[in-house]
């Protein structure tokens, strides 16, 4: 029990410590070197802006957050679905899978303007882009998890007359769990990038929009603030996912 609390404190403690040290070094170097706020504002200035304009920030945070989560969830569902198709359909595996892989050389961010042409400047382009960038690692990971089954395990299940359905739910799915959570970790961070970039290109709201706006006004502290938030949000999301993923995995076993 005490050991558990200790471990928990360590998982929280170390990242907090490192972050604090980085921020401190940043603050000190900005002050000592006399760097102008417009080039690189110190964290204290960023925090001040955060506190000062929190209502503005919050109103723009929600749409971004909402689209990120939605795009992420869609990518998880879609990725697992396509992975199942890859596992069970020779046509998808041999025909579509290589195409999906090769298509990844296209920087998906460059499609953002196209989406805006198609769907206008509303939430749709952001959602689509978030989904699109998050979808790939989900698919690849889940497919890997479904397929990396030892041939002997498959045989063993067949000697006990396991059906395809049973083999999927009792072997492939639990086997894929760690892979799926690994994919989720990557996907959530990509979804955030997708949303912010899309808002950056064309949108009337969201963190990406604020970044562009502040950048245009040469108002660096808020700009840094959003970056910080984007980053912080990403970090937060990754760690909670990771922890929950691990817990989920333990429950599965």
């Amino acid at each position: 029990m005490r050991n558990n609390i200790g471990k928990y404190a360590a998982t929280i403690g170390w990242p907090v410590l490192v972050t604090t040290l980085i921020l401190l070094a940043w603050e000190i170097s900005v002050r000592m070197l006399g760097i102008r706020s417009i080039i690189l504002p110190p964290p204290s200035a960023v925090l001040e802006t955060m506190a000062h304009r929190h209502d503005l920030l919050l109103t723009h945070l929600w749409p971004s957050l909402y689209l990120t989560v939605l795009g992420f969830l869609l990518s998880v569902i879609g990725g697992i679905f396509v992975a199942v198709l890859i596992t069970y359909s020779a046509i998808v595996r041999k025909g579509f899978y290589p195409v999906i892989v090769v298509s990844q050389v296209i920087p998906k961010i460059s499609i953002a303007p196209l989406f805006i042409v198609w769907f206008g400047t509303g939430t749709m382009p952001s959602l689509l882009l978030a989904f699109l960038v998050a979808f790939f690692p989900m698919t690849i990971n889940a497919a890997m998890g479904f397929e990396s089954i030892d041939e002997d395990i498959h045989r063993m299940a067949r000697t006990f007359m396991g059906s395809r359905w049973q083999i999927f739910w009792k072997i492939r799915m639990p086997n894929a769990m760690p892979y799926i959570f690994g994919g989720m970790k990557i996907s959530i961070t990509l979804a955030i990038i997708g949303v912010i970039v899309s808002e950056f290109v064309a949108s009337q709201e969201g963190i990406g929009y604020l970044i562009k706006l502040a950048g245009g006004l040469l108002d660096t502290p808020p700009l840094w603030d959003h970056r910080g938030r984007g980053k912080l949000g990403g970090l937060l999301a990754a760690t909670t996912r990771g922890r929950r993923g691990r817990r989920r995995m333990m429950r599965c076993s």
């Binding site: 000697t159 006990f160 396991g162 009792k170 639990p174």
Partner: protein
């Protein structure tokens, strides 16, 4: 009846089931080719009800292939396998298989692994849970029922695999070199354990191995397969009293049997 110790049956009678007990598994003119590769040319033998039969042969002669066909996992190219008179066309309930490696599911505890066939076969869980615990007790690993496989030693894992193969109470147990991944000491130990489990459960066992001593120690009868393309080249009844202690392997009678089997295998190499 054959003479008490060792007698090689005349060539045309090779493979008949021992005694007059009805054959539970009968293999007739079995042939298996993989593309151009002829793995098994011609195999015919019967296995009697409750008999412990070893199939002894050099590596790569098609022993696993033979077991997979008996298990209904792959189809023979020609010939047929009958179990209790019915032709084998796919996996069957009355068969349990132990593979060369334990193939346990790493995310399931020992007990959950042993109960895995029960889930797949949709049998009543409470009843078989009790049976699973009994099997684990018999295999002396009941105290590890709640533990994950990675926390077990190789020998313990293979015991779990044996319990899993027995849990749904199959008539026939197929074992494909189940101890080949274990060290020599554990291997002897496991052979003694297996004999004990077999004496309690009295299944028909087809035990594949390339260890001559293991085959001689465990079996009622040993069928010797030659090099690929495989045929049966010899057969030997082992009529040593049971339970056989591991010390039996130092007896002259036992060693005579081992020599006989070795000669048969060497003769097939010389050809």
């Amino acid at each position: 009846m054959r003479s008490a110790v060792a007698s090689s049956a005349p060539a045309r009678a090779l493979g008949r089931a021992r005694d007059d007990g009805a054959a539970i598994v009968s293999i007739a003119a079995l042939k298996k080719t993989f593309g151009d590769l002829e793995a098994i040319r011609h195999l015919s033998f019967d296995v009697g009800d409750g008999e412990f039969l070893s199939v002894l042969g050099p590596s790569g002669c098609g022993k696993s292939t033979l077991l997979m066909m008996v298990a209904g996992l792959i189809d023979p190219t020609a010939g047929e396998i009958r179990i209790q008179g019915a032709k084998v066309t796919g996996p069957r309930r009355e068969i349990g298989v132990v593979f060369q490696s334990p193939v346990l599911l790493p995310w399931r505890t020992v007990l959950q692994n042993v109960l895995f066939p029960i889930e797949l076969l949709k049998l009543p869980r409470p009843h078989y849970r009790r049976r699973a615990m009994e099997l684990l007790r018999m295999a002396k690993i009941d105290e590890f029922a709640g533990v994950l496989p990675r926390q077990l030693s190789g020998g313990m894992r293979q015991r779990v695999a044996i319990c899993r193969a027995l849990v749904h109470d199959p008539n026939i147990l197929l074992m494909d070199e189940p101890f080949s991944a274990l060290d020599a000491i554990t291997r002897d130990e496991m052979a003694v354990e297996l004999q004990r489990i077999w004496q309690v459960n009295r299944k028909t066992v087809i035990f594949v191995t390339h260890s001559i001593r293991e085959a001689a120690f465990l079996s009622d009868r040993v069928v010797v397969m030659g090099r690929r393309p495989a045929t049966i080249i010899d057969e030997l009844a082992i009529e040593l009293p049971r339970p056989r202690p591991i010390a039996v392997t130092e007896d002259e009678t036992f060693n005579r049997l081992v020599r006989h089997l070795r000669k048969a295998i060497e003769a097939s190499h010389a050809e």
